[in-house]
Symmetry: C2
Subunit: 346 residues, 2 copies
């Protein structure tokens, strides 16, 4: 299998290196053949190639079986008036790969409950799977700008809504068989199309329960009743906001993975944390989000569900054992945490 690795900016190189070492371990022990190649994206690609998504990177990603990405961005590239921005590379890559469904699981490890801002008793049983539409909406709509006016268009077609909803319903079948579809149907036309489409798609999945929530209510319910939800599916911008809110429940962003999938098995895998420029290059970043993203890569792109589960269990054991990086209140470095995962895997 060909795996394109895009380390990106900030702590991206450190955490992708950790994830690659775990994948190499899986390959060696299971007699799989993984080929890795590294390519530029984001701010460092702007600096080196004048393009946040160089043509070479895109070609390799399209030919790969899976793409593992670190993070993009940093203060030196974040002038809002700049023509080239690191995020453009990531957004173009998502669109070019056609990965319309962004899966973000959120679980709260019992040993980390005290790090969560939520009261411990609210956390028990929290096991969420967000499915965020990733290649449409305001992110990719027409934009205009004059001296004193700006516009962003949010556009959705029935086909775009159907395919991401089907993915959510399919996932629900492997879990609690409940889908919560989030929109703002009392105000937005795109949300009314979203809701109607969800109602129609639900008929294809009579064994899965569908409920609708307004995005403002959902922002509240994630705090008041986080254990009450299973699969939560929503459009791109709402998903961006709600998944970060839900991520806060886990106690640290450093732990959370994501998988972005399209029609085939090729996927884009990235931890949900950012490039964390303040700690970049110091060997203290939490590698677990990237390692758990590699587990999702094994499961969704390479069909290695057993190996994926083994990596996830190894991470659980490392947390149980209290090997914590600084974001979790410990003093382990990136290398130490990674070594602990490798040891737990053996």
């Amino acid at each position: 299998a060909r795996i394109a690795v895009l380390p990106g900016d900030g702590i991206g190189p450190e955490v992708t290196a950790a994830a690659v070492s775990v994948l190499r371990h899986v390959a060696a022990h299971g007699d799989h053949d993984f080929e890795f190649s590294e390519h530029a994206i984001g701010g460092c690609a702007i600096d080196a190639h004048g393009d946040p998504l160089p043509a070479e990177t895109l070609i390799v990603c399209k030919q790969a079986d899976a793409v593992l990405l670190g993070a993009v961005g940093g203060p030196q590239w974040s002038d809002p008036k700049a023509k080239l921005r690191p995020e453009q590379g990531l957004l173009r890559l998502r669109a070019e790969l056609g990965v319309f469904a962004n899966l973000r699981p959120v679980r709260v490890h019992a040993r980390l409950a005290e790090l969560s801002p939520l009261k411990t008793e609210r956390l028990s049983g929290v096991d969420l799977m967000f499915v965020r539409e990733l290649t449409g909406g305001a992110y990719f709509g027409a934009k205009t700008r004059t001296a004193d006016t700006a516009t962003d268009e949010t556009r959705y077609t029935t086909a775009e809504i159907e395919r991401v909803l089907r993915r959510a319903f399919q996932l629900a079948r492997t879990r609690g068989r409940r889908v919560t579809s989030v929109d703002k149907a009392n105000v937005l036309e795109t949300s009314r199309l979203w809701r109607e489409t969800a109602q129609r798609v639900a008929h294809e999945f009579p064994d899965v329960a569908l409920e609708h929530q307004l995005v403002d209510s959902m922002a509240m319910l994630l705090l008041t009743r986080p254990a009450a939800y299973d699969v939560i599916v929503t459009e791109n911008l709402f998903g961006d906001i709600l998944t970060d809110e839900a991520a806060a429940l886990a106690g640290s962003l450093g732990l959370l993975p994501s998988a972005s999938l399209g029609e085939g098995t090729r996927g884009l895998y990235e931890p949900i944390h950012g490039s964390a420029p303040d700690i970049a290059g110091r060997g203290v970043a939490n590698p677990l989000g990237a390692i758990l993203s590699a587990a999702l890569l094994l499961r969704h792109s390479l069909g290695l569900a057993g190996e994926a589960a083994a990596v996830e269990q190894a991470v659980d054991r490392v947390i149980d054992a209290g090997v914590f990086t600084r974001d979790l209140g410990g003093s382990a470095g990136t290398r130490e945490a990674t070594a602990a995962v490798l040891a737990a895997l053996s």
Copy 2:
């Protein structure tokens, strides 16, 4: 002073009646002359007049010094395909009154900390003032719909952004002198205009500190560091989501007021809770959100800051005394809670 009262749907009539009784008490004891008149809005206005904002209601509101609203909406009017929806009445009223700045204070009463989903230690010192842009953005932009495509346009002009930001900076001067402006400038054109405009307006207020946050980060920071913020200003849709998220911190929506202000002193005041059809007409709704909205009315539209503070202190004393409606874990009815506020005022 002329006060237009729009009870609306669900528990709206119960909670506005409570707020009016507090205002009558203030008038009687302070020798002020308040004239109240009641008008239809929302679902009940659709039923009675075929219009969620009847012409008569709008005319009276435009002539009033202040408008006190209960809540609109309910399941019988919430078919997404319906032509007439209760929310349209509220949205049109906001636009027609030109109330572009929606103020939503969020404090967490110490006695109610255990109701909050957040760990108690994170709550100390939380004292937020949201300023949500209320008459622009995706709520009021062009919308299109065909059989298989829908669009919503988000549009902002510099003038719209400036006026709401100035209001936020002015409020910050009466509080902690810090403004956090929330946008999604790494993706949206309207957010880049927002951020540039915020930077420019900040020069008019050298005594107030400005910081920018991305909306996804803010959704997380409200949970991880809620006490770190003072005034938070943002566009309409982001404000809708973030204020509901922040409201969850207070333990119950039933307590939270809002004020919507334009260029003059006329304002629209409403509790942030909805119409709560499940408990409507049963005399158990929490009247404190509506009563605190009446306090904001006294302060912002009638120039009665002392009276406003007296009402707020009376509500604090009622909470201190443990007179709780069901949403706060008590058994007091709407009437009992209102009587307790009136007694505390005397």
